[in-house]
Symmetry: C2
Subunit: 334 residues, 2 copies
DNA sequence: TCATTTTGAGTTAGCGTTAACCCAGAAAAT
DNA sequence: ATTTTCTGGGTTAACGCTAACTCAAAATGA
């Protein structure tokens, strides 16, 4: 059996079925008035010729690609993968395909992606945890027809958003408060570079002060949201500040990196050092000791974002917000 | 600033620049003969009008989409994510975009994806660890112009492949051998449903017998390649067979699920039960005790597959194989 | 019986690009 | 001085599909 050389087109089907192209098109779309006989007949020919509509041609005239893009800083981060799963599942049901755009924690690459992702490629874009500043991000997304951001606020006319229910810095402050209540007095913090869980350190310190928790700017570090960065940062932070009895990390990967660094320095967890993460990835519950962290329903963050995007893609440009809850899951690392 | 209503087309640029459309097209592609003056001028107009080529129109005439699809059974499995990262990185450099197709460990969905992914959508497809039988898979990929499979063999005329260097069942037998050498005598096995690491149990038992290792069909179970499935399966297997002093799992997620089940049944690892996984995902090295497993370079599996696919996309349909090595990483779970 | 509506199609005109071919003027070769 | 070659473009015709309009025949109503 030799490979089919030419793909059948609408015209081929029409000719073979003895009808006009529009009739075939109508059968495919289920629109217009077609007699049952004709419909049946055309369907048979379509099957016989293994006809598949040409997406490019269709897009050219309808201006719809039935594709959306998911822009993410790191596809290997399980947090994003679960969100992506929700997005993919939702759009699959709606007949859309998802294009993946991975910036690899590289802001320049994220810019290039958003710039390249022209509206002739996708009907809409979900931008997940952008690492760009507003000044960089906003001009790039102004050109897109439909945008939804996850973990990022946006001027209302530009797109809808899915964010946490809580104000910025909530997780860090709540974590600090909990640690203080369990007797910790010198609390370090590993901040993330530009993400929703990154924290304005001034505000953070101010909040801690108002809770009578000790504050020391050199206890606070910043790193990329990866395991390796957490490990490297934790190593330095813990070596330089052996007085710390707790560390809060911006997400689980970083927390687990810090935990590994702590263990290597002979610290017992949680006796010598308590650690709190964020995101509640699977690994958080599987390590020893299991990691205290914040849980949010990542899959449904994905479906919420997808639903908001679909609305915009279909022309309803009303601004919408969906919020998810962050719940502190207390495990044995604290 | 109001949203731009109409996107500029080639014709707009041509009119504004006072040249023909072909001249603009040539400037964009850097082909044909264009004077420097004209080139500069056209470039300015392109920038001024923020012209971006319409992909659908281009695709319609060139028959190239500059997109490839990555078909994967479970996007939340870190093993696949790292491969995807390699694929994405490679194709990004080559000017291609990657479409994600996630079958969610559902063979019917995988079929639907492969069927829907017509060549008018993508220039090629990487099928990663297909869960379909040959009878199901082959007819589906026959229709595609360019195919590469990962962890799956293929009739040579259909596509290139990236697989392990070792024969089927190698990992399981090697693991069993190692366990036997370290004194384990009753070795359980949790097989995966249809994947490269799934094993023909008859062959497996035969190999073990030839090594004088005890064999017992009821020590061998099969499950989906997820943590939860591993946990559930491990729970049953270990409860029914307390005599087991080692378990080999098809991949790390399953191994970690089994490990959790073992710990919950009060077993000490590795004293009471040794566990071996596969894939060496990050989590494997982070749990306590760290998991003995097989390591392969997942990122480069991705780039190898991408490279092979690009070759086919560009018209070179020679069959190629790339192989990766599986190395046993001995950690404290054994 | 004749006017009106409904049914079941067909026709026309692009959508925005690029491939393939054409061509006038200038420069170079004979 | 004439022919040839090169330079710097332009023209035309698809690619495969759908939106919008048209229209004959059949069914319905007065």
């Amino acid at each position: 059996m030799t490979r089919k050389l030419q793909k059948a087109t609408l015209a081929d089907v029409a000719r073979e079925a003895g009808v006009s192209m529009m009739t075939v098109s109508r059968v495919i779309h289920g629109t217009g008035r077609i007699s049952d006989d004709t419909r049946q007949h055309v369907r048979q020919i379509i099957e016989k010729l293994e006809y598949r509509p040409n997406r490019a041609a269709r897009t050219l005239v309808t201006k719809r690609t039935n594709m959306i893009a998911f822009v993410v800083p790191d596809i290997t981060n399980p947090y994003f993968t679960e969100i992506l799963q929700g997005v993919e599942e939702f759009f699959w049901r709606e007949g859309y395909n998802v294009m993946l755009a991975n910036s690899n924690e590289n802001p320049e690459r994220e810019k290039a992606l958003l710039d390249q992702l022209e509206s002739t490629m996708v009907d809409g874009v979900i931008v997940c945890a952008s690492r760009l500043s507003d000044d960089e991000l906003i001009p790039l997304i102004e050109k897109h027809a439909a945008i939804v951001t996850v973990n990022r606020n946006l001027p209302h006319h530009l797109g809808s958003v899915v964010t946490t229910l809580h104000p910025r810095g909530y997780r860090a402050v709540l974590a600090a408060k909990y640690l203080y209540e369990t007797g910790r007095r010198r609390i370090g913090y590993v901040n993330l570079v530009r993400s929703i869980s990154s924290v304005n350190l001034e505000m953070f310190m101010h909040e801690l002060e108002s809770l009578n928790i000790a504050v020391n700017p050199s206890w606070y570090a910043t790193c990329k949201p990866t395991w390796q960065a957490g490990y490297d940062t934790g190593k330095v932070l813990l070596a330089e500040h052996p007085e710390l009895d707790a560390v809060i990390a911006g997400n689980d990967l970083v927390a687990l990196g810090v935990m590994r660094a702590a263990v290597e320095q002979g610290l017992r967890i949680p006796q010598d050092l308590a650690i709190i993460g964020g995101d509640d990835i699977l690994m958080a519950s599987q390590v020893t000791p299991p990691l205290t962290t914040f849980r949010s329903d990542k899959y449904s963050i994905g479906t919420m974002a997808a639903e908001l995007l679909l609305r915009r893609v279909e022309g309803d440009l009303t601004y919408c917000e969906h919020h998810y809850d962050d719940v502190l899951i207390i495990r044995e690392s604290t």
